[in-house]
Amino acid sequence: MTHVVPAVTSTRPQTPAAAPDEGVRSIHGRAPARRAAARRVAIPYAFLAPGFVLFAALIIYPMIRAFQMSFYDWRVVAGATSDFIGWQNYVTAFHDPIFWRAFANSGAYMAMTVPPQIVLGLLVAMLLNAKAPGRAVYRLLFYLPVVTSWVVVSLLFQYLFANAGLVNYVLHGAHATNGATSWLSGRWTAMVAISALGIWKGIGWSMMIFLAALQGVSRDLEEAALVDGAGRWRRFTTVTLHAIWPATIFVTVMLVIGGFNVFTSVLLMTGGGPADQTQVLLTFMYEQAFKYLDFGYGSAIAVLLTIVVFALSVVQLRVFRNRTLT
């Protein structure tokens, strides 16, 4: 095998060509050279500017504004004066039992939906990574829920888990229950129904990430492991899992963030009810801001959610970074 030195692909001018040019400039004056240098510095920023303006206007400014609002008894009308109340909105949140229930429900949803999405997503990805007839069709079918509207599937699952819905019908038929479970009228049964939707809709996304990662698993290593007598499970844990570890970290972090941000399905399937039993942080925040027009309290909840999600992400990244697979 011949080693080929890679060709230089940089567009940076080579020194011998540039030198005479610089020499000419130095004779005729320094100003054009300075302008050229300034232009070189300005170009990247000029291209960055539109994106940055959008990012600043649509992400950074609202975030700063929400943070500011969380310290006020915010009056929503344009031009109205709002009273500064310090940490009062945060104190209200810490003493509000519904806030803590919403926090626990968001955490429970995350705990109930993230592991199944990872395990099932990886399982499906491995099945669909193997050469088999109709592979593309199955990939499409598993990905279909991801691109389906949350509104449509939330209503669909509401019907499935209704008192007289398909789930009760099937469970009764299988003699698993008496068929009279009122799924959406109790806190935990409703959370099961909402989580079932989250898992069903999310598997396709993690499958797609894992599929991409599985394409990068070295066949040489797999073959070497096979030659060494490693079984299917051993090959999975020592070769495959090792190779897709960065993708697993990415999927986990993103799913945890997404789990804490659950909103549409809860709003549509239970509305946070009955009696606020299934409120999650975002539905609770939405209710405070847009039903009661208490934007100060709503913003404080949003800030607290941001801190929790940020802290969780940092912890996860640190845990994963310090942990290597053996």
Partner: protein, 427 residues
Amino acid sequence: MKRTTARWAIPVATALFAALALSACSSSPAKSSASGPVTLTFWGTYGNGGNKAQTDVLSQTIIPAFEKAHPNIKVNYVDVPYDSLLQKLTTSAAGGQLPDLVRSDIIWVPKFANLGVFAQLDGKMPNFNTLAQATYPGTLSTNKWQGHYYGLPLDTNTRVLITNQSALASAGLSTPPATFADLQTDATALAAKKIPVFADSGLQGWNILPWIWSGGGQITNADLTQATGYLNSAQSVAAVQMLVNLYKEGEIPNLLIGNKGAVSTQDGLPKGNYANILDGPWMKAIWAGQYQSFQPVYSPMPAGPGGSISVVGGEDIVMTASSKHQDAAEQFIAFTQSSVYQLSMAKTGQMSVVSSLDAQEAAASPELAPYIKQLQTARSRPAVPDEPQIDTALQDDLVPAFEGKVTVQAALDKAAKDIDPLLTATK
């Protein structure tokens, strides 16, 4: 090559930047001409749920009649789904982009009046007192906040008992329950057929107050400053206890506690799943489309020790404080109280708020007669800015009583305690 890139790169990037900046600024509203015809923007929810009958009457009859009488005023009606109007009003108030007129749910008026979004009408609108006195007192009171009026009633409604006669007949019953005692007797008869005697979809003020009022109880004192001693009185407890007893026997379905997986009243009554519900005059049009053979029977709210008392619903017409055409807007508000507006809308199920039009309304729309009668004693929910929170408190505090986790007395004590500060809150 490199220098060529540099030459076009900066202008292109600058142009992109400028385009973005300019597009962000281009949405500022054009100022209206002072001399030309005035255009009023009017937001409403007439078309909610695809109700074309009401938007058709508005655009084909009512607005042309107003514009003919006021050649210098044009009305641009914008239909907004009911579920998004509160959010749209809120964000528009924050952005200073409000319309001139709003058909507002009666429970939002005190909140937006308190925020300074809706304009005070009494003392400003020339003929306000005359127009106000012509309306039902219960509907007018929904416009009042801190001694002033911020709107006029536009349309009203209330809830009456609607019965599936076939469901009653299957249990050997012939007439809808007229009293609390009848309801309990009917429940026993219907239980044998596994048909709940009554169904409703929540425990908020709209749902529970007719039972408390008819039971002789109250939600607050007359000044709307205290719930303790009223909401948790013996009469209120007895009325709610009756419902709890029926619920525990399975004679009221768990739709009542807010279970979204239960069969809705809209479907359950015509299908015979439920024998009775409480609902408004719009149901007739809904069933006419979906359940054409269903013949609903309308009767008054079952009477308890306090009589037969239902709850007032409906909308008010309000002008925004930021409207640049307040004189024209006031003229349109006055027009909404005319017989043209009120009777045209009554034909579509939106009941008139002008009491002198009762006879004409009943003659033109006989199906509204039970509602017109019920309105004579119907009461409005507390007209305070935090009314939505009061609804939540009622729902959240009463559910545990229905689930058997606390006594009705304890649930109403807690609700009263939670509601007290909401009555006096002014933020």
